[in-house]
Symmetry: C2
Subunit: 369 residues, 2 copies
């Protein structure tokens, strides 16, 4: 009601914390719905949990996880530069949403997509978006089951992914305990490096063609870590998990805060993509901030008791998957980096703290969702 | 690949039929997902069904229904005229999505909302949108469980509603049989009449204040027919159901086509809102086309065997709900109106056939989602 208050424009994490969690926490009155005396759906994790997905316990010993993500799509810089196609945007929309289900340890059971298109979008362009969605669903072992289409002033893309896991199998951000090992499924920083490298358009020859392809593919064919997520959900002792779609630093910070622990990352143990090294060398940038920062890579970051690490590594290896221990949870709640020199420093890299484009300028607009 | 084809710009129903259903029908390969040997989720109705929601059979003798709707929100004419607030848009978003679950005969278990906001939207404006969402959820016996927020160039609103019902209880568009009675839960045409009455801004005194309030409330406080939907889902012999969010004519046409029957509406039996009569008299318009046409009213339209009609009427009456028989399903597949004079004519009213705004002009942009 005061003028000062009504002129406030907070950033996204602040709104999540101060407004979304507060306003949507007041109406959770009926967490269990019973369509018959013997069947029920019980909300286990809603908005205040701030996980990637909501979680329901269902009769029949399973849990349902469901999450929604909007993607900027035609506002992606690489799309504006002509490096991404309509097909790629559809593919990205599906992969980004399926990643949320994977990060909760669930098997995807379907995707609903909202595709609103501008007046001048032709049937074949529209079909390309849908084909990208379809092919990503197929790639990640699921199907498109519904959604909404219609007109809008520009292409608007949003989706909802659903998945199921065994009762008690869903992975949350909370749950990491001091002493747990922090692991990552693969290198981060690739999508952010792509943003930096292609800024202003394609640089055709500055780095090797295979690295350029790796950079482009981080946007054209993002990988939802479905197999890894299912393995982690079934493994039994994973204590926390999240994808790195807000960047590695944000994911580390978020698991630490939700779990009430500290996390120390060993710089030496961070998996590194040669494509990121090529970009940071070419642009004369520090590499670790690029790896930690606001890069949308869809890797899974998780914690596990140290005694289970070897068994988990073997399980990953048996399926041809990767698992990199990169740090440890501590009682002391600080989040920090142990550098190659052995010093403890704050985590480098841009924190995830998006603002609407106008307020943040081009450098902050790398985030898709 | 041909120039002619790639320049085609079809309308929404055509894209649904020719592109969406086709592209998304090819990848339904694994309709059953089993997170454990004893738990499963099986897709019963996906994109090709073209119902309001997808339907899954879950172990534990229940079904999950889930649907997504984008709403135009700030592009609503009544919002542009200053007659709707940010709170109203949030309320509408939730009600429109919950209506889809109600129309499938399910109890809502939660809503995920995508709220992307422009750079100049203040915290209090943003909070108003969320409060509208929250209050609609409370009104319709459910909760907001997740979603996505962040920046965009304008306010973008989309949501996904989830619900559960007993095994076999979900109501589809297909299933009506010749001889079934067609029923409606309340008068239609109100939202469309509001569009016509308030065109260009508020007309403060042309019709009675109570009628003006009814018109405004069709946009400010739309009613998702949750109690009616639950009753219909549990009743046991409802053969088809759909909400009238694309207008009554569209809903009638859609149930007829999906079920392979004809439907004859008795003009004499159509429930009529006095507010609609006031508008059509004031503007010297025919009333039946207004009642049948592209008006977003969220009533439920359903079919039931004639022998069960009295029992259903009593069940509605016992709960203080309304049920109007308005016609009958026929073997002959024609969809028609029996006028007050006894003639059979094609259904009047604008068919639902939206196009992107630019192509259709202001008169066709009344539809929200």
């Amino acid at each position: 009601m005061t003028t000062a208050a009504s002129n406030d424009i907070s950033d996204e994490p602040t709104r999540l914390e101060r407004l979304v969690s507060k306003i949507f926490s007041t109406n959770i009155e009926t967490p269990t719905v019973r369509p018959t005396p013997n069947a029920s759906a019980t909300l286990l994790a809603g908005v205040p949990a701030q996980d990637d997905c909501a979680v329901y316990a269902l009769t029949g010993e399973q849990e349902l996880v469901v999450g929604s993500d909007y993607v900027r799509g035609p506002k992606f810089r690489l799309y504006e530069y002509g490096l991404l196609s309509d097909y790629d945007l559809g593919y990205y929309l599906a992969a980004a949403n399926i990643s949320d289900v994977a990060a909760m340890g669930a098997r995807p059971i379907g995707l609903l997509t909202v595709v609103r298109y501008p007046p001048d979008m032709t049937d074949s362009q529209f079909a390309s978006v849908l084909e990208g969605i379809r092919d990503a669903c197929t790639r990640f072992q699921t199907v498109t089951v519904g959604g909404d289409i219609g007109g809008a002033e520009r292409l608007i893309l949003s989706a909802t992914a659903l998945g199921v896991c065994r009762r008690g199998g869903s992975l949350r951000r909370q749950g990491a305990r001091a002493g747990d090992v922090l692991c990552l499924t693969g290198p981060t920083g690739v999508a952010g490096a792509a943003m930096r490298y292609f800024r202003g358009g394609a640089r055709s020859t500055a780095i090797d063609v295979e690295f350029r392809q790796t950079l482009l593919d981080s946007w054209k064919r993002p990988v939802a870590r479905v197999r890894e997520g299912i393995l982690l959900g079934e493994f039994g002792s994973v204590t926390a998990c999240q994808d790195t779609s807000d960047g590695l630093k944000a994911a580390v910070t978020s698991i630490a805060a939700a779990s009430g622990v500290g996390l120390v990352i060993d710089e030496h143990d961070l998996p590194i993509s040669p494509a990121v090294t090529a970009v940071t060398e070419f642009l004369e940038l520090d590499r670790t901030p690029m790896i930690m920062g606001d890069s949308v890579d869809f890797q899974l970051l998780f914690t596990i008791p140290e005694r289970d690490l070897e068994r988990l590594r073997k399980a990953f290896e048996n399926q041809g998957l990767c698992c990199h221990p990169i740090g440890q949870a501590t009682r002391d709640r600080a989040v920090s980096l142990r550098t190659r020199q052995g010093d403890l420093t704050p985590l480098p890299g841009d924190a995830w703290r998006h603002m609407p484009d106008v307020l943040t300028g081009p450098q902050r607009a790398v985030h898709p969702g």
